[in-house]
Amino acid sequence: MSSSILVLNLTRMGDLIQMSPLILGLREKEPDCKITMLANVKFAGIVRFMKGVDELITFDVAQFGSCDGSETDALAIYNYLDDLTVKLNARKFDTIINLSHTKVSAMLTKLIGAGDIRGFSSSPRGSLLVRNPWLIYFTAFLNFRRLSRFNLVDLDSLGAGVSSGGKVRLNLAPDNESAQSAQSYFETKGVAPGDLLIGIQAGASREDRRWSPASFAVVADRLAQEKGAKIVLFGAAVEKKLGDEVETAMSEKAINLIGATDLEQLALWIKRINLLITNDTGTMHISAALGTPIVALFFVHARAEETGPYCEGAIVLQADIDCAPCSHQTVCGHLSCLKYITVNDVLTACDMALEQTETAPDDDSLFRRVKVYVSGFGEDGLIDFRPLKRERLDKLELFAYLYRPLFNETFTKWDAPETIATEGIGDWAIDDLKERFIMPDDEKTEAWIGRGVEGARRLLELAQNGERLALEVIEAGDGQSSSQLMEIGGQLTAIDYSISVLSGVYDVAQPLAHVYKRRAENFEGDDPVDLARQALKAHRWLKMSASLFINICGRALEALKNDNKKPDSYEITEGKER
C-alpha cells in the first residue's frame, strides 16, 4: 500500500517554493505516495503550482485576527486547532515532514502524530525535538554562518530524507490553460511577443534587505534606453509606495504590476520575462523555479550560499563587507552594504545574465566592493555558488569548503558513526579551492590549518573521554547507584562545557562543536542507560568527524601549498586582509 505523507510548511512563499525539490524527491522515491501539504493560507496559492502535491490543506489562523482592534477569540482558535489536529490525526499519516523550525509547527506535528516524523517535532514535555542531522545542522548553523556552504533547499531535502542530488530542481507549473491565454493578456499590457522584458522586484520582506529605489530606477532607465527593454515592476500590494518611488524616479515608462497580480498571473509574468533583477525575495525563488534568468542582490543578513536562487546560471551580487552577513537581530546604524553594489555592477551582471556568460568585462571599476557568484550544482549534487572573481582565499572560506564534504559524509552515517570514513573524502572540494581562489602564502595556510587541526585534536580527545564514560554507564546497566550515575553525569557535563569553550577558542572548530551540542540537546527520555547510548553515538560521531577533519585538513594543506595559479579572467590583487 502506498504511503501517506503530510508535509508541513507554515512559513513564507519563498520557503514553500524552496520545498518543491523535496516534493519531487519524495515522488521520485515513491511514485505512488500521497502527498498532502499543510501550508499557511496566505501563501498557499503557490502550492497549486507545485508539481507533486496531491492535496492542500490551508492553515488559517489569520482569520481570527481582528481588523477593528477587538479581542481575538482564544476559544475560536482553540477549537480550530483542536478540530484540525483531530482530523489530521485520524488520517493516520505514515510520515510527517515538518521543516518549519517553529514551536507552532513542532506542536502541531506532535498532536497530528505519525510513525515516521522527519524534521521538527515536540517532545512529550514540550521541548523542540529534532533528530535528523541535517536539520540539527539547520538549527546550529547560524552560529557559524561563514563556515557553512549549505543552501536551505538542500537542507530541506536532505532533512526530509530525500536527496535529489541536484537532479530535481525547484519547479512551478502554471496551468496550461493560463499559459495559453497569457499572450493575449500580455498584449493588453502592451507586450509584444518579441519584446525584451526585464522585471524588477524592488521590495523585500524587510526594508534593510533592499537596494535603493533610486538605484533600481537608474538601472531600469539604462536597460530601457540601451537595450530597448520594457520594464515590469513586481511586488505585493504593501510595496505599492515603494513601486511608485521607482516609477516616479524613472524617466522611461514602466509596467507597474505592484499589487496587481495574483500568484498565477505573477508566475505567468515571471515565465515570460527575460530577466529578473531582484532582492532576496519569494519572486526570486519563483524565477528560479520557472527558469527565468536572475540577477539577485544580497545584503545585510542575507547570504547567497544559504538562500540564493536554486538554479543554474543566476548571478548573485553580495556586498563584500566585513560585517556581513549580520545577524537577524542586528539593528544596523549605517547599512553601508546597501551602497556597495553600484548601478554599473548591476548592469554588468544583467549583461552577463542575458548573454548567459560568466565572463565579466576587464574593468577595474566593476565589482570593487562586491562578491559575485554564479549559481550551479557541485560535485555532491547540491547547489553551489561559485565566485566569479578569483580573490585571495580567506580562512573561513577555506574551512567552509572543507566542511561541506565532511558533513555530507558524517551526516549520512549519523547513527553509525563508527562507519564514518576518515580519509579519501573531499578531494573535489580541495580542487574547487584551488580553482576558485588565489592561495595565501604557505605560512599563512599552514598556520590556519595547523590551528584548525589543533582544535580538532582537542575535540577528538574530549569525544574519546565522553565515549568512555558513556560506555561505562551502558556496561554497568541497572547496577549503577544513583551517586555513581550523578558522578558520571557531572563528568559528561564538564566535557560538554569544555567542547563549548573550545568552539570559542578555535573558531574553525565551531561547526563540529555546535552540531554536537545540538545533538546532545535532543537526547530523549529519562533512563540513564538510554541516555548513555545516545551520548555514546554523539561522542563517537564527534570523534570520527574530528578525525576526518584532521585528515581533510592534512590533504588540503598538501594540495594548496605553493599553488598560486594565474587568473583566467581577472583577479583582484588589492584588497583587504581577512
Binding site: L10, T11, R12, N40, K42, F59, D60, V61, A62, F64, G65, S70, E71, T72, D73, A74, L75, A76, I77, Y78, N79, L81, D82, T85, S100, T102, K103, V104, S105, M107, L108, K110, L111, S122, P124, R125, G126
Partner: protein, 601 residues
C-alpha cells in the same frame, strides 16, 4: 413587667459598654412615647416619628424583604428605634449589627417593650464602636440597611459610617482597579499618596503613578535656558510627555476608575484619551480656585470634578462645562497623621510653646512678625531666612517629610495654623476652604489655633473641637490663654481628633468619591470591563464550550477575570510530566498571538 431591667440584663451580657451608657443616660422631654393604633409604643424625637403611628409591627416584614439575607450574611442596620423593623431580619439567620447613635432612644425602647429576644439576636453598638466590628466583616456577604427615621435624626453620623462601609462592599464585590495619577511636585503630592493609602485600606486594587520621580528632571529644565518663554515651553512639552505616559500606562493596566489629583500632568487631550478607555476619569482639585485658574481648561474634560470649595465655585464649574462637580474637602491620613511617642531628644528638638509648619507665604511672613516676642518655632520651606521671622525657621528651608512634621504636631503645645494667602496680609476674611493641616494636626492629637474660615463651623464645633482666631490680637490672647490651660488644650485636642477620625479622614473622602462614581457609573464601568473582557473571560469561555479536556484545564483559572495567556503559560511551565492536549494547544495559541496572527509562524 419591668421591661427595662430584663432588657438591660440581655444587653449587658452582649454589649456591656452600651448597656452602661443606656443605663446612665437621661431621657429628655423632646423624646416622647405614644401608643399606635395597633397598641404598640411608638417614639417621637422632636418632630420625627420614629415608627409608624398605625401599625409599627408591619414594618418588620417589609424591612426584611428589601434584601432577604440568609445565614452567612452580615446586615448592618442604621437605627434601632424601637426595634419593630428588625424583628423579621433578626430571625433570618444572618448576623444583624445595629448601629444606634442615641442611647436615649435605646433606653426609651427598653423601657417600653420586651426586647429580650431582639437584643439576644442582634449586635447593638454605638457608632464609635463600629470600626473594629467593621474590620472583621466579610464584605462579599455584607449589606447596609437604613432605618429611615433614624437616618433623618442622625444623617451625618450615618453617612460617616455608611460611606466607608459601602465602599468596602464595592471593593470586595466589584474589585475595581483604580489608577491614581499624582503630580510632579508640590503640596498635592502628599494628598495623592494619602488617596492611595485610603483606597487600599478600603480594599481596592490601586496603581499609583507617582510622577514625583520626574521632579528632578522637570526642575532641571530651568538650567537649560534663562529665557522664560523657552523654559515654559519646555516644561509644557515635558508635562505633555508625562501625560502621554499616563495614557500609555492606563492602556496597559486597564483601570476601572482613574483618579487624577490636582497638578497631575494631564492636559485636556490626555484626559480625553483616558476617557476613551471607558473608565470614569475623576479629578480632585484640592487648590484655591481663585489662585490657580487651570481648572477652567480641564473641568469640561473630566467626568467628575471634586473640589474643596463650594457655592460659587460649583456654579462656575457648571458654567465651564464640568459634567459633575462636587464638594469634597481635604482630610487627614490616619496612617501618617496620628499620635506618636517621642524620645526625650526628639521632644527637645521638635518641642516648642508655639510651632508653625508650612511654606513661607507672604501673609505668614508678615503675620508671624507679630509673635516674635513669643517662643515661636517655624518649620517649612520658602522662608526668607535673613528676616527676623526667617531666623525662627529651624530647618533652614529644607523639605520636611510627613514623618517629621507629625512629630512637630505631636509635641508643640500650640500648633499655629494660618491659611496661606496671596491677597491678605494675615487672616483672609474671605477664606472658605479648610487646609489639610487643620485635619492633620487634629488627627495627630495636637492642639491648634487656626484662622477663621467659612467652612470651619460646619466641620468642627468651634470652642469644643476647634479654636479659631480672626486677627493677630485675637491670636495673641488665645495663645496666652491656652498656654496657661493645658487641660483645656488636651480636651479640645482630643475632641478634635475624635471628630476627624469620625468624619474627616481620607478613607471617608475616598469612600464618598467612589460611592458617587459607582452609583452613577457602575453600568458604564461594567460595560468597559465587558468590552475589555470580551470573549476571553474564563467564564465566557466555559459557557461556550463542552470540550471536557478544555473545561478541566480551565478549572484552575476560574475566578480570573481574563484568560491571560501569560498566566496559562506560567501554569503550564510549572506543571509536571507530559503536556496534556489542552496545554499543547495553548502553547500553539500563545505562539500565534505573540507573533502576527499567524502570518509568519
Amino acid at each position: 413587667m419591668d421591661f427595662f431591667e430584663n432588657n438591660l440584663k440581655v444587653l449587658s451580657s452582649r454589649a456591656p459598654k452600651m448597656a452602661r451608657e443606656v443605663e446612665a443616660v437621661e431621657i429628655p422631654e423632646r423624646l416622647s412615647v405614644s401608643i399606635s393604633r395597633s397598641g404598640s409604643p411608638v417614639p417621637r424625637l422632636d418632630n420625627i416619628l420614629i415608627h409608624s403611628a398605625y401599625y409599627p409591627e408591619k414594618e418588620s416584614e417589609k424591612f426584611a424583604a428589601k434584601i432577604s439575607p440568609g445565614p452567612g450574611d452580615t446586615v448592618v442596620v442604621f437605627g434601632f428605634g424601637f426595634g419593630y423593623h428588625l424583628e423579621s431580619l433578626a430571625s433570618s439567620g444572618a448576623r444583624i449589627i445595629v448601629v444606634e447613635p442615641s442611647a436615649m432612644i435605646v433606653k426609651a425602647a427598653m423601657q417600653s417593650r420586651d426586647l429580650r429576644a431582639l437584643l439576644g439576636k442582634t449586635d447593638l453598638i454605638s457608632p464609635e464602636r463600629f470600626d473594629p466590628v467593621a474590620a472583621k466583616i466579610d464584605y462579599q456577604k455584607a449589606f447596609w440597611m437604613d432605618h429611615e427615621p433614624s437616618v433623618r435624626i442622625d444623617r451625618a453620623v450615618r453617612d460617616n459610617i455608611a460611606g466607608p462601609f459601602m465602599a468596602r462592599i464595592i471593593a470586595k464585590r466589584k474589585q475595581y482597579k483604580i489608577m491614581v495619577v499624582g503630580p510632579v511636585y508640590g503640596g498635592t503630592t502628599t494628598t495623592a499618596r494619602s488617596c492611595v493609602n485610603a483606597l487600599k485600606s478600603l480594599g481596592f486594587t490601586v496603581e499609583f503613578l507617582d510622577n514625583t520621580i520626574h521632579r528632578q528632571e522637570y526642575f532641571r529644565i530651568s538650567d537649560v535656558t534663562g529665557y522664560k518663554p523657552h523654559e515654559n515651553a519646555l516644561k509644557k512639552n515635558y508635562s505633555d510627555f508625562l501625560g502621554e505616559a499616563v495614557v500609555a500606562r492606563a492602556h496597559h493596566i486597564q483601570p476601572d476608575i482613574i483618579l487624577s489629583i490636582a497638578q497631575a500632568p494631564l492636559a485636556p487631550g490626555a484626559i480625553d484619551r483616558l476617557k476613551a478607555l471607558g473608565a470614569p476619569v475623576v479629578f480632585w482639585f484640592v487648590e484655591d480656585y481663585t489662585t490657580l485658574s487651570y481648572w477652567k481648561a480641564v473641568a469640561p474634560h473630566y467626568d467628575y470634578f471634586f473640589c474643596i470649595q463650594k457655592g460659587g465655585f460649583l456654579e462656575k464649574l457648571a458654567e465651564a462645562g464640568a459634567p459633575y462637580a462636587g464638594y469634597l474637602p481635604q482630610a487627614a491620613d490616619t496612617s501618617i497623621h496620628r499620635p506618636v511617642e517621642l524620645t526625650g531628644a526628639e521632644k527637645e528638638e521638635y518641642g516648642s510653646d508655639i510651632s508653625f509648619m508650612g511654606a513661607g507665604y507672604p501673609n505668614r511672613r508678615r503675620f508671624f512678625s507679630g509673635l516674635l516676642d513669643m517662643s515661636l518655632k517655624i518649620w517649612g520651606t520658602e522662608w526668607d531666612l535673613l528676616t527676623p521671622v526667617g531666623r525662627r525657621v529651624v530647618n533652614q528651608n529644607q523639605r520636611i517629610e510627613p514623618e517629621e512634621y507629625v512629630k512637630i504636631f505631636n509635641t508643640a503645645r500650640i500648633n499655629l495654623n494660618l491659611h496661606s494667602s496671596l491677597t491678605h496680609p494675615g487672616v483672609d476674611p474671605l477664606g472658605d476652604f479648610i487646609n489639610p493641616r487643620t485635619y492633620e494636626i487634629a488627627a495627630c492629637g495636637g492642639f491648634q489655633l487656626v484662622d477663621r474660615r467659612d467652612y470651619m463651623a460646619e466641620t468642627f464645633k468651634i470652642g469644643d473641637e476647634m479654636v479659631t482666631f480672626s486677627d493677630i490680637d485675637d491670636l495673641r490672647e488665645k495663645i496666652s490663654f491656652y498656654l496657661a490651660h493645658p487641660e483645656k488644650r488636651e480636651r479640645i485636642a482630643a475632641d478634635s481628633r475624635r471628630r476627624v477620625l469620625r468624619e474627616h479622614t481620607f478613607v471617608h473622602r475616598m469612600a464618598r468619591m467612589i460611592n458617587i462614581v459607582s452609583d452613577n457609573d457602575h453600568e458604564k464601568i461594567e460595560r468597559a470591563r465587558e468590552k475589555r473582557r470580551g470573549i476571553n473571560n474564563v467564564d465566557s469561555i466555559l459557557s461556550r464550550t463542552d470540550n471536557p479536556g478544555l473545561i478541566e484545564f480551565l478549572e484552575k483559572f476560574k475566578g480570573e477575570r481574563q484568560l491571560s495567556l501569560s498566566k496559562v503559560m506560567e501554569a503550564i511551565s510549572e506543571g509536571e510530566g507530559d503536556l496534556t492536549r489542552p496545554e499543547s494547544l495553548f502553547i500553539i495559541i500563545d505562539q500565534i498571538l505573540s507573533t502576527h496572527q499567524g502570518e509568519e509562524i
